[in-house]
Subunit: 225 residues, 2 copies
């Protein structure tokens, strides 16, 4: 049984991937990083899913990163206004946490080496590309190469959803029996998802395209596109 | 005046590089990471050098990494015996902190993006290659590629000492007026450098080859090679 590490954000994509690789037979260790994200609530959802699936889950508190190092982003700085509107709009670029994915991947690889896992799974998908440079296939390929070289015992980076969009992922999750009530997408960390931020809208559109019902409760009615 | 970030460990290599790029005219911001390394004392030396050179210096406390995530290494786990002997010996591989350099680089790049710096400097040199996979030129090249792709505003990774050994660096430092009394190399964090660990021996050999006097005090007499 091969050991693998997954970066578990508590969102739809990494949660679906977690179900997926468990079904493929990996012995999965989930890793979540608290980087003082505004929506740190998502990590609680990662914990609930891992608990249900009996997956060991490590949450590392690197909130100092958001406070001290990566201060340029609306996703970590609470007194900046979070942009509303489409996920693809220019102003969503304000939500980019500088170099977040490389940081998460590098930590996940360090953890994988520590526990003797050969693979790191990561849920980047095609819908992220327009906004997040570090979700692009070229970036993932370059990281894959660097990660193989980073240790004598090579770790492989796997991002199997790079060719899928969020609706494809929802369909896959339905087949896998994913409980999307235990996933969190909204960039605001309020009790209910806001339904207005770019992340909520993208999620709602994915469910609509996949002809599925989103089990989450929203503050505002579903956004009609 | 171009802004640059340097990963400052407090050791000979990054300290020399710091003097070097200041002389080249960069506006330098130094970054040090406390990852609970056994020789965390090195960061105090980084602080002293930055103070003397009027370089802003940020120390980020990620000691949780050493405690929780990267538990495989003798460099962070204090109840493991630290190997003595040559820097090149097989047992020095125990001092590899899993994926340390990728983690440090990814944080430095995040910081660079945050403050609008276009370059990240890093003092890897040829003597590290045999032990540390993440000091190899192929690794640095792969990281350089990933780092360029990680953000819309590309950051460039510069590792100008990759082709030098530690003696070459000492010679360069002499020309640049580096005060090596303010650098720390020993893996043990005692008051004086131990003179016995692989790092001390490599340093002493570099000074010997460069026909320079090491201003540091050692617990034991200089190791004759």
């Amino acid at each position: 049984m091969e050991k693998a590490v997954i970066i578990a954000s508590g969102g739809m994509d990494s949660t679906t991937l977690l179900y997926d690789i468990l079904q493929q037979g990996y012995v999965v260790h989930a890793l979540s990083i608290n980087y003082n994200q505004r929506h740190v609530k998502e990590l609680e959802f990662a914990r609930l899913t891992c608990g249900r699936l009996n997956v060991p889950h490590k949450v590392v508190d690197l909130s100092v990163l958001g406070e001290e190092l990566l201060f340029a982003s609306a996703l970590t700085v609470k007194d900046r206004a979070l942009p509303e509107g489409d996920y693809n709009a220019e102003n969503m670029k304000l939500t980019v946490v500088p170099n977040r994915n490389m940081i998460l991947l590098s930590l996940a690889v360090g953890y994988a080496i520590s526990i003797g896992a050969k693979k790191v799974f990561y849920g980047a998908h095609s819908g992220d590309h327009a906004i997040y440079p570090d979700c692009r296939r070229e970036f993932v390929e370059a990281m894959r190469r660097a990660i193989i070289l980073a240790d004598w015992k090579s770790v492989e980076l796997e991002a199997p959803y790079l060719g899928l969009d969020k609706a494809d992922i929802a369909v896959k999750g339905k087949e896998l029996g994913v409980d999307y009530a235990l996933t969190w997408t909204c960039y605001n960390g309020a009790e209910k998802a806001c339904g207005k931020c770019g992340a909520c809208r993208e999620r709602q559109e994915a469910f609509r395209k996949a002809k599925m019902i989103d089990p989450l409760e929203y503050e505002t009615a579903i956004h009609k596109i």
